[in-house]
């Protein structure tokens, strides 16, 4: 499964927030999108996740144009992808119910009612998936904790578990470790690699170039609301073709 | 002849060709509900709670009593949201009839108003046999006077008296408070002010307030202007089809019936009689049925057009048409 973005243009009011983006991301690999803050990385991820139709261009999930199909088919396509937003995205309930949420919305109303009233155990079969997802981010046994009581690192790991619980083909992550300590970062990067080994495709938006160097298979450099360079990680990071990319990667602000 | 002879014999049981059973009484009149618009002061005396249950069981009706300000009660009746109206503001009842909204008015009962004030009577109005005169004395002394100021029957009466007086109710001593009668008496008592009140409410509150009757009403020899007659009338079904006219008439009949009139006379509060029933008088008071000043002659006077039409009928239409 791969996702292809062709000529994507997004506007907000008068301003252009994405200006002709082309990118292909594949399953079983990590693609890092790097660039300065505010350049549009979050917007790009949200567009890939299917939040709103673009002003121009196409988003293809394995060949199918996401916005050329009916609502219900688009929903099924969206459900092959899961996105983890940047920061503070947990629901005000237990860890287990957070993780089970994506599974719950795919269930019928009766099941969801059962879960709402009786907790995750009450809904058939979800408990095991929740346990597995928590194990992936090394938070086993934390199911009954209130999400509000978690540290930032734990919260981010639960958010990842929530996304992974739905068994997506593609995982989109927006700055997953930007405010976290090195140990937590390591745990999260390990979870990402475990997911990739299972065949999940991962797209990470990050401004941490070192992280890109550690885990990415491919790197796309985003400057000026578009992707100016894309290729295998080592090629882009060590020897970028475009001068603007080189300058950014070397640590200078782009002009 | 034969037929007549036949009818005078054998009067036991039904005869041929006549109905077997008496007409069945319907279980309810209309939808079984009577909506009575009345004033808060009338309602607050408790008289209606005493007599209405008798009406309800006699006629199998449920009565919904709407206690509102006089103006609001009349407006409710005018809009057709009530079936029967019981108020004590004769001039406004007359206008209601003139406008065609009310029919079949009957006198029901009366009492009177009294002018009350603190025992010390700073303005010195005690025993005045003129209500207007008493008001003038109060105005001249600039003694505090509390007015309901709410277009109620009491307020309407108060304004009639001010009309007769020479002074105007203006100045810091004259306070319009927009409250009900009991509330107004309580406030007058607390501030040592003068006010006008219906005798009934005053009597009911006598123990709790420090006010004395300084000018009596006509029930005890005081000036006639302080009379307080109550009238009951039906809302005109020609204007509002949906009103329960038959029930309204049953209620009016009930209120003016000898038994009920006796019950009204017998109704007391704190040991005093509150109302005097006056539906019947000898000779009959025809003025109660129509707006005051209504002239049957004037109404009967035909227009020129009508006279002309009648002359055509006389000339052209055969007698056995």
């Amino acid at each position: 499964m791969s996702i292809t973005i062709e000529g994507l243009r997004l506007t907000r009011g008068e301003a252009t927030v994405l200006d002709g983006v082309d990118l292909t991301v594949d399953a079983g690999a990590v693609t890092a999108i790097v660039g300065p803050s505010g350049v549009g990385k979050t917007t790009l991820l949200r567009a890939v996740a299917g939040f709103a139709p673009p002003a121009a261009g196409r988003i293809r999930y394995g060949g199918t144009d996401l916005w050329a199909v009916e609502e219900h088919e688009r929903l099924q396509l969206r459900r092959t992808v899961a996105m983890v937003p940047q920061d503070r995205s947990l629901f005000n309930t237990t860890v287990a119910r957070n993780v089970a949420y994506g599974l719950g919305v795919r269930d019928g109303p009766l099941e969801r009612l059962r879960m709402a009233v009786g907790g995750v155990q009450a809904a058939d079969g979800l408990a095991q998936q929740v346990t597995d997802a928590l194990a992936l981010v090394q938070l086993s046994g934390m199911g009954d904790r209130a999400a509000r009581t978690l540290s930032a690192g734990e919260a981010q790991r639960v958010a990842i578990a929530r996304a992974m619980a739905t068994d997506p083909a593609m995982l989109l992550m927006d700055e997953p470790t930007s405010n976290l300590d090195p140990q937590t970062t390591a745990v999260i990067e390990e979870a990402i690699m475990a997911a990739v080994r299972r065949g999940v495709g991962v797209v990470i938006a990050t401004h941490d170039i070192h992280q890109a160097g550690r885990i990415a298979d491919r790197v796309a450099v985003m400057i000026g609301e578009t992707i100016i360079e894309e290729g295998p990680a080592s090629a882009v990071l060590d020897d970028a073709a475009s001068p603007a990319a080189r300058r950014f990667l070397a640590g200078e602000l782009p002009l | 002849m034969v037929g007549i002879a036949g009818c005078t014999t054998g009067d036991e049981g039904a005869t041929d060709g006549m109905a077997e059973e008496p007409a069945q009484l319907t279980e309810t009149i209309g939808d079984g509900e009577l909506i009575l618009a009345t004033t808060t002061s009338t309602y607050d005396t408790g008289l209606l709670d005493a007599i209405v249950p008798t009406f309800e069981s006699a006629f199998g009706m449920t009565v919904k009593m709407l206690p509102q300000g006089t103006g609001a009660a009349i407006e409710t009746a005018r809009n057709g949201d009530a079936d029967v109206l019981l108020v004590h503001a004769r001039s406004r009842e007359d206008a209601f009839m003139q406008e065609g909204f009310g029919v079949n008015r009957r006198d029901m009962m009366f009492n009177d108003f009294v002018i009350v004030g603190p025992e010390a009577d700073p303005a010195g109005i005690a025993g005045d046999d003129s209500a207007a005169g008493a008001f003038d004395t109060i105005a001249a002394a600039e003694a505090t006077f509390v007015s309901r100021g709410d277009n109620s029957g009491t307020h309407t009466k108060e304004l009639v008296v001010w009309d007769q007086a020479t002074s105007a109710p203006a100045g810091r001593w004259y306070q319009e408070i927009g409250k009900g009668m009991g509330d107004t008496l309580a406030q007058a008592s607390q501030t040592g002010a003068y006010t006008i009140s219906d005798r009934g409410t005053y009597l009911s509150m006598q123990d709790e307030i420090d006010l004395e009757i300084l000018v009596e009403g006509p029930l005890r020899g005081g000036p006639l202007v302080l009379k307080n007659p109550y009238g009951v009338m039906a809302v005109n079904p020609a204007v509002h089809e949906q009103v329960n006219y038959q029930a309204a008439m049953a209620f009016i009949g009930f209120c003016t019936a000898p038994d009920t009139q006796a019950a009204i006379d017998a109704y007391t509060a704190n040991g005093s009689q509150l109302f005097f029933a006056n539906a019947w008088a000898e000779p009959v008071d025809f003025a109660q049925y129509v707006p005051m000043g209504y002239s049957a002659d004037a109404a009967a006077r035909l227009t020129a057009e009508d006279r002309e039409f009648l002359s055509w009928v006389d000339a052209k239409v055969p007698a056995d048409y």
Binding site: R46, F91, Y101 | T45, G46, Q68, H240
Partner: protein, 231 residues
């Protein structure tokens, strides 16, 4: 009922007071229920959809919170009166008319406070729900769940506005009590006006204390629901 002896002891008084409490609760609880069902979706739409006149709608909602109850009562009576446009419904001076006027009063309160509550839900939370495969309706449900404390406050505020108001229900209800002492359209608040205008202040205060007790019970119920729903 004796003149001047409403609040005494005995079965008549108990029946009277019980019936006015029941009417108060029936009217206000129904009005709040209807307002909640209408107000929460309205709050969601106003918070999260862009449409022309959105800002105007928000202003209308918040203005509605302060609308004088007497005026609402007059307007509703004019509409429902036999002489009015909806006269054929025969709703004037009935409990249903009171429910209508109290719904008009409670709806802006519940909507405005709910609006504030759902707006406070982090966009990241809504995005997270959508991005693990929720439909827009699922996201709305999740938003309500996230805003539940604020929404409970909204409902309690709406209830407070309804149960304590007297201006509109006095006009549209007519303050009717049947001759057997049971209330048709008389509530605790309008019963207090009867006592007050007759100068029976103590009785009025007693009824006021009963009203306060009712409000306390409902708010305690709300607090219990809040606690149960926490995490």
């Amino acid at each position: 009922m004796d003149f001047g002896a409403v609040i005494g002891t005995g079965p008549e008084t108990t029946r009277y007071v019980t019936s006015i409490i029941l009417v108060s609760l029936q009217v206000s609880v129904t009005a709040v229920a209807i307002s909640t069902v209408m107000g929460i979706p309205l709050a969601l739409v106003t918070a999260f959809r862009r449409f022309p006149g959105r800002r105007l709608l928000t202003t209308v909602i918040t203005t509605g919170m302060g609308f004088p109850s007497v005026v609402v009562g007059l307007v509703v009576l004019l509409l429902l009166s036999a002489s009015g446009p909806l006269g054929t419904l025969q709703l004037a001076f009935t409990p249903r008319a009171m429910i209508i006027s109290q719904t008009i009063l409670a709806l802006p309160v519940i909507t405005a406070v709910s609006l504030s509550a759902v707006q406070a839900v982090d966009q990241a939370v809504r995005d997270a729900a959508f991005a693990v495969g929720a439909t827009r309706r699922d996201v709305a449900v999740r938003t309500i769940a996230e805003a539940r404390f604020g929404i409970i406050t909204a409902v309690l505020a709406g209830f407070g506005r309804a149960i304590s108001e007297v201006g509109s229900i006095l006009i549209v209800g007519g303050n009717i009590v049947f001759t057997d002492g049971t209330s048709y359209t008389r509530t605790l608040t309008t019963a207090i006006t009867v006592e007050a205008r007759q100068g029976r202040y103590e009785t009025g205060l007693i009824l006021g204390a009963v009203l306060l007790a009712v409000v306390l019970v409902i708010n305690a119920l709300g607090a219990w629901v809040s606690a149960r729903g926490g995490a």
